[in-house]
Amino acid sequence: MSVDRAETADAEVDPRGDDDPTDAPVLRASGLEKTYGTRLPLPFTRTVEVLDGADVAIYPGEIVGIVGENGSGKSTLMKILVGALEADAGSVSREASIGWCPQEPRLYDRLTVRETFRLFGTAYGMDGAEIERVRDEYADRLGFDRFLDYRVDHLSGGNRQKVNLSIALLHDPDVLLLDEPYTGFDWETYLAFWELTEELTAAGTAIAIISHFVSERDRFDRILELADGTLSDVTGEDPTDHAGEDPRGVGANGGRP
């Protein structure tokens, strides 16, 4: 698989119908293929084809929902887009800085929240004062400011997820890739999250969210459905077509997290 940071989006048809040539995608992937299987020639093993020529382009200031059945490959797609997983074939072009909120918080259990921000902020290249300022801002907005000196493994699932999300936001990335970011959030935090995404997209940040909640469809500029290894634009289609794909869909709890 090739990864190209400098390549421009020439001759690409904007799926949003926007012909502004300066409005190039900040993240683009084409022809992605991925099959899971053992690396060893062991008996009684099988391969699972997850992606089969998936294409996606994400533009500045838009918020894209990625939907699909359980096991359809949404998280795999996101891992490939962010660079955490290598595709078997296809290419990814990353034109901007990326923030990634994985489905399972990939954090260090025995570090405190404060230490976690310091470590990841250092990884992003931020200085101490900047890390503290942004950390305190998100701790206040998402409501985990009381837990800054708690170890990550001592946090509730919801608070861990807040830290998980905040780490993705910490360096003010151009593109946010969020894999079910609000799992475990209380209602107030859930609303604060959507308020935050509106501010970010208004400032030009591109956001892609893996979502199961049919009631959220109105919040997205575009909705891409991953099925049979490929992505298709289902924006504007009847949401009830997808209501049964997850027990947490609109029928289960009205779309609340």
Binding site: A84, A96, L111, T122, A123, Y124, D172
Partner: protein
Amino acid sequence: MADAREARAGPGTAADRGRRLRAGVSSHVRAFVRTPINVVLLVALPVVMVEGYGMAMEAFPSLPFLDAGRMVEMGRVNGAVYTVAFFAGVLGLFQVISALQADERLRICGYSRAELFASRLVTVVLGTLVITLVSLAVLGWSTPVEAPVAAFGGLALAGLIYGLIGMLVGAVLPRALEGSLVIVFVVDADDFLSSGMLDLDAAILNAFPLHFPHQLFRDAVFDGTVAAGDAFGGLAYLLIVLVVVSVLYIRLTGDGGVAA
């Protein structure tokens, strides 16, 4: 904000790399110290193994190929080498497998694979030096050590080699139980066969990880001497293991880790 984004792009200067390395090591050391079993092992393992091996050898029947005059001391020396090699091996193993997923995220956030490896390695080295110090102190409490500095060097060499081997096992076999079993059995067999208690004459033994460290440590404890050939051999062995393990680690932990 765009300027700040651009300023943060790329791997940065040597100072940035140093800052990331310090932050990584600091975090790993905190996580290590906050794991109670690590602290218990640091204190208890040397006492149990050094004195346990000594008592076991004291109760051993007299055999023609064993030097009956030094049985207890030989047992303690073996116990010290086993302690350091085992602890460092398990430390290396768990440094890798305990945080493969988090390390991968850290890489995406800006760390290079080499920086991740270096920060894990420095943590293993620090842990190895501490367990070496404790083990040597426990040994010295009951057995005279003729050349303490040289003994420390030989013992630390055993730990550093097995710390690297533990990291490699963690990258190849990122599972706690299976990886721990590999370390236990390999260190046990290596310690026994390299101990010098058996009159073995097989060239293959020279390639065992503990061959040179055992020679250096025994000579330093009993005779107060350091054979230059053993010292250079041991350092060369360490260097080769370091190169092999660093290359394999960086390759194997790519693509989200072996377990991905």
